[in-house]
Symmetry: C2
Subunit: 265 residues, 2 copies
Amino acid sequence: MNLTISGLRLGGMIGAAPFKPIAPETAGMPLYRAVKRALMQAIEDGRLAPGAAMPSEARLAANFGVSIGTLRQAVGELVAEHIVVRRQGRGTFVARHSAERFLFQFFHVERGDGRREAPTVELLGFERGRLDDEVAEALGRRPGDAAWLFDNRLMLQGRPVAHDRIALPVALFRGLSEKRLHDRPGTLYRLYQDEFAITVVRALERARAIAVDRATARVLGVPPGAPVLQLRRIALSFGDKPVEYRVSTVHTAVHDYVQTLVRPG
Amino acid sequence: MNLTISGLRLGGMIGAAPFKPIAPETAGMPLYRAVKRALMQAIEDGRLAPGAAMPSEARLAANFGVSIGTLRQAVGELVAEHIVVRRQGRGTFVARHSAERFLFQFFHVERGDGRREAPTVELLGFERGRLDDEVAEALGRRPGDAAWLFDNRLMLQGRPVAHDRIALPVALFRGLSEKRLHDRPGTLYRLYQDEFAITVVRALERARAIAVDRATARVLGVPPGAPVLQLRRIALSFGDKPVEYRVSTVHTAVHDYVQTLVRPG
DNA sequence: CCCAATTTGTTCGTATGTATA
DNA sequence: TTATACATACGAACAAATTGG
């Protein structure tokens, strides 16, 4: 992957410069923050693709003209935010939206006994529609903007546990289709990442208890009016840019909604 | 605070040694982890009291015989876990359970518009009883062990939003009384910390939607059978030792239950 | 108001250990 | 085995915030 000529490593010299110099608007910001920004920008722009190995820390430090300690501080924050992954002896990689990441960062439902497993997903409906006021507001768009609207049913151990209604701005997801959605090999967020260059980095989630409506009750196989958990999620990309709005209805008789734990060490 | 004799700093030499030497069972563990352990042990034992200033980083490094960088790595993890707080120019302090900490780390209810405020608390009942099987299991105790059982009602803007049923093992909270509970000046966890030397460092929380029972409905001012959020929380101290079990019933018509966000930077 | 002392925050550089290919 | 990568540990210097004189 790294071109060498008679032992002389090139790297940044080949083709377009892989990293922009530290931006001027980073004045007053600690150097490691500026470096972090530059790295995030590179990921956002696609100069560093998901799954790709980043240049080594030594190389990056030289590239930015900072010490290795400063560079590690920048990368350390990216690791804490699950944007990159470090593997000793191998390298540092731009995080991909794998099934594991979905399970631990974005799927907050688990069995009453605390066991976790990946749900199977079933696409129930897909259409092109418009954003209503509330969703448009949440996504930072105008009411009436074109949107993809679709439904998933999530099953665990063969039982329906959740119904997701998802809204995506067409402006961000041009060319999405029911077929592409249905045929995707990995998680939904992996599809966003691979096909639309949109990386979900975190999500805001609010929960409340409601009486389930008739249509959702049928999907979940519960009596109409039963108490269910309703989650409203805004998925955010870099710079906290909202990219997805989702309403999940969760049947919490057998499963629970769990807080994600902050567990250093 | 620091005794000096003709410019020679003493510190650890005066009185009881403030920190134990690196324990032998830390073999194979990185040095900074061993240092972190020793610091946590000092907090746990009360040699470093909540709110107290720790010795400066330079002094601690000398005390442990490690470099300042290694010491900072240890303290950095304690900061990430909210066990200590660093303040530039002032020092590093053992974190206390203030109203702010409660609000941001342990109180996950906020208004629909996203605004957060501290609830007012009302003690509804207090008795000495026994742990049932489920709670005993969660607290790592034997069924039938003596326990304090009490109820709080939480209000926001004058409206009831939550009802908490709390169970504490008497073995850990000897001498608790309704009066001490009622007269406490700060948060509940502050009381645990100041009066019983028990520091809650994190909590596991599971949520489900249920139909509210008659008694709780009265407390919350909602119709019996209305859908409400039920939270079961196990509060943990150092070494993930469970110290409190709590069942909260939350009225989520006006307020939401929110995920705590992991927000570096 | 300014100065000096103290403390954490940032940045640098080097050396060595450990995991991976 | 060798080379490469990240992980740990050391130490030094200066910046920035705070406190007290």
